[in-house]
Symmetry: C2
Subunit: 320 residues, 2 copies
């Protein structure tokens, strides 16, 4: 089953979100518009808006309110990708040149700032002060995580806890916030929106672990960029950490540096794949997926619940 | 009279702001803390917090409310400086190495993001939704201006309108927002907070024009960086624009490029200073200063009004 089929009852609302995303970034500056549209059109699963809308189904769902949160969360995600591409010195994302590659780092930095400011502007349509507190706290954590990620690069003596804390801030917190803010925008009661937050957090952890696995197991065509890129850039993820339990492989991984040849890094990737580290990483992701599904059990039954369950399973078991 | 003497009745509250600024950026990440503290300690006039507090004196002034806005506005200013230094590839600001120079562009980018997120967090203590709308709109305009500034670099056929639009977004809007948000945080009525916004806008324009003049007329010691840096970096400001009314000088200015020697740029700066362009720029700043002072005449008399008047005059007539 395709991802989009899991929430087909949201189709017309998803179209509204997509239209709104395009209209929001119709900036007066041609450069900004081009750079933002470029990022927008590069696609993506729009997972965050979908979670916002589904969470809203637990309360007084009004698409004219919900769309502000849904578009804002996708814009915040976009802004962070644009900034990340500067840091990672990445030329490709989803098979497309990045803003940083197509223009320059400066343009990417300000495009990120601009897209983030647009998100804030949309969020001001949400009156509940709690929503703003949650978003601001999330942004503080996300930016702390971004700096941590720079510091952790090529730091081979880190452990799984360092990794989990990093992906929490990098991915899980914003997905958790999407679920919670969607619920709050629909006046969902606290006991429920807190559960939706937890659901989003666990799904986000599972999602990022799978993403990190795919960076080893995916083909260049599936990834839109060469495999093993994370490790080459010094981003030590779950498969590398599990593989390093073997001292010989650890030694090999510790030789990684950014100017390694494709053949050299390919050899190390093969070592990691043969070590059993991928299966251990999948098991780790599954633990988070199970936690997410168990939270859902505690929520009332509705269409959204089935969709959230299907999406969580899809995300946690996707092959690309 | 020194700037600080003009609002000595705020002394204890300014100390609270300074303490709060330091406490806010006590991040858990040592790198972030160091990079943020570095920017904070580089000093600055704290003009935005002072305007926030003075504007609050027109209403129900409560320092425990006001401090959120005052610290937030200074943090937003700091964040934009840290990002600007990446763009300008600046190594010095106020005589101190920039975050970008002391660490790297990536650290500077994320430090800016982090400091901005902290500002948002503080602002969530302000319940009035209008405050958030004003801030978000200001941020959108500021980021549009930042991109425009990149595009306008070394574009010698721009006119004064391009320049004024640029400094509006670069400086005046945030000072205007400081005045207006300070007033709104103190529940000042709309007719008054709109005037305070205009006052801030005019003072901000005057302030930036003087800043741009000083970049030509100041000594390296006063500026904390070599004179003529704006022009060398392709930032075409009022003095250069007025000087270009003379065709000969225009030809000389059009030869400017970033790898020019100190002697070459010094020669062009001398031409500009001898052209009468400085006096014309001062007159332009004075026009904005006069507008600011006229707005003040329409506001009720109080201690704040006298301080606002003194500060506006100080800013508009400062020599360094």
């Amino acid at each position: 089953m395709k991802l989009k089929m899991m929430y087909s009852f949201l189709n017309s609302d998803i179209n509204i979100i997509e239209k709104e995303l395009g209209e929001t970034i119709q900036a007066r500056s041609l450069l900004l518009k081009q750079a933002s549209m470029h990022t927008l059109q590069a696609g993506g699963k729009r997972i965050r808006p979908v979670f916002v809308l589904l969470a809203g189904k637990y309360g007084d769902y009004d698409i004219n309110v919900m769309k502000n949160v849904a578009v804002a969360l996708e814009l915040i995600h976009m802004a962070s990708l644009v900034h990340d591409d500067v840091i990672d010195d990445a030329d490709l994302r989803r098979g497309q040149p990045t803003v940083k590659a197509k223009w320059d780092s400066q343009t990417a930095m300000y495009t990120g700032d601009f897209v983030f400011a647009l998100a804030l502007k949309l969020m001001t349509n949400i009156k509940n002060p709690e929503a703003h507190k949650i978003l601001a706290n999330t942004m503080v954590e996300v930016t702390v995580g971004e700096i941590q990620q720079i510091k952790d690069k090529y730091r081979f003596n880190q452990n799984l806890r360092d990794y989990l804390r990093r992906i929490k801030r990098k991915t899980a917190l914003l997905i958790a916030a999407s679920c919670q803010l969607g619920a709050i925008a629909a006046n969902v009661e606290e006991s429920v929106h807190k559960k939706l937050y937890l659901f989003g957090y666990f799904v986000g952890m599972s999602y990022q672990i799978i993403d990190d696995i795919l960076d080893f197991t995916g083909t260049e065509k599936e990834l839109g960029k060469p495999a093993g890129g994370d490790l080459l850039q010094g981003n030590i993820t779950a498969p590398a950490l599990f593989a390093m339990e073997n001292k010989e492989i650890k030694k090999a991984i510790e030789t990684v540096h950014e100017n390694m040849t494709a053949a050299e890094i390919a050899k190390i990737i093969t070592l990691i794949k043969q070590s059993g580290a991928i299966a251990k990483s999948v098991a780790l992701s599954d633990q988070y997926l199970d936690k997410a599904l168990r939270i859902l059990d505690e929520l009332p039954d509705n269409k959204a619940k089935k969709a959230l369950r299907d999406i969580a399973k899809f995300i946690g078991r996707r092959k690309f």
